[in-house]
């Protein structure tokens, strides 16, 4: 079956590193849906105002190629235990489709505007379908979630900045919302599970800035911000 993008996601995050590991983890992170011309019409979104969440079905475009392996090693299990691909949300899957429920922040059908928060999609991700979240059919709050229940992420405790004056200005130029989103993204501890080198520098590209940070114990420090 041939499917075509109906839209592309626009996010402050363009790379894979630092992306939330699942939808909803970074609730401050906002993005929007940029519709392809054919769907950029008032009619297409009519009625979506009454919903709090929607589903995005999208393509793992940063993980090209159809993998032949039927197992994956979820980062949550330390990367050393194999799980069936259909028991995991891994991007490495037979058909590279992602699924995310995101919160609707603003919908203005007459401008074809759809702004959402909590997405785990990188900038430029192709979107193949949008469906409203229907609680009676989609919400199972008591559902057991396998290895996801029993192996929690260790979040960090704090994110501080230690910047030279000129870079501190760049930090201050971010909106309050952006600063909160960046801190939330780093607090999730985006490092691979097996990393614990406190001298190592990690990079997140957020909007047009490259931020680098280090992590020592449960504290992260943003040490540099550069315009790119």
């Amino acid at each position: 079956m041939e499917i075509e993008p109906i839209a592309y996601f626009r996010s402050p995050l363009s790379g894979k590193f630092g992306l939330p590991r699942q939808a909803g983890l970074a609730s401050e992170l906002e993005g929007y849906v940029e519709f392809c011309p054919r769907f950029r019409r008032e009619e297409a979104l009519r009625g979506l105002e009454g919903f709090d969440y929607l589903w995005l079905i999208w393509g793992f475009h940063l993980n090209a190629g159809s993998p032949s392996q039927l197992t994956v090693r979820p980062p949550r299990l330390g990367g050393n235990k194999k799980i069936g691909v259909f028991a995991s949300r891994s991007p490495f899957r037979p058909n590279g489709l992602g699924l995310s429920s995101v919160r609707i922040e603003e919908v203005a059908p007459e401008r074809a505007l759809l702004r959402v928060s909590g997405a785990d999609l990188a900038d430029g991700t192709p979107i193949y379908d949008i469906k409203p979240y229907v609680a009676y059919a989609d919400a199972h709050p008591e559902a057991r979630s396998g290895f996801v229940d029993s192996s929690t992420w260790e979040s960090l405790e704090s994110v501080e900045t230690s910047l030279c004056p000129s870079e501190a200005k760049l930090w201050d130029c971010f909106s309050e919302k952006d600063r909160a989103a960046i801190k939330e993204l780093i607090l999730q501890d985006p490092r691979p599970a097996y990393h614990s080198d406190s001298t190592r520098e990690y990079h997140i590209v957020y909007k047009d800035k490259d931020l680098s940070f280090r992590i020592q114990g449960s504290k992260a420090t943003i040490i540099s911000i550069k315009a790119i």
Copy 2:
């Protein structure tokens, strides 16, 4: 993007009429996932035992053709109000992808067996992806669900049988589970919203039997069962 079925759904229901209007509405209705040979392997399902629900991403194969209209008329609104396609779960959508959360009844990776309940997929539906249901990311029980919240389905009150002796035997040959599923399907009132003719006969094909029934007020009566 080209996607290929990884499996096909096997349901007692083969037609569109009588299918639950959404996943979870007919909890007694069981079906199973028949994997394509490449994925009929123990590894693919390993770890799914720990989950209660899973997502199926599937194709609306009974609604062929890519519709050019951006609005749909949901049956729930009586079929006379137009809603944007992205504000609805209608099968008539740009990319014909369906999304359903179903309960896992039995998973036996070593036999590539996956039995589920509550699916709204017809027999033979192609499945493009299976993902575990992860409550922390997928469950939003308090989410407002637009027109779905404010316009409830009228369920019927009872389903009885009025059959000649030979057809009553056919009814008795169904398992208790099958009889419960059939009653549940009819109780949902599968008629189009604008039908109210109590002499009209409706048909559901369940497994290898054609059942016909009539509805008067809030009572349904199964009046005939024929082997097909």
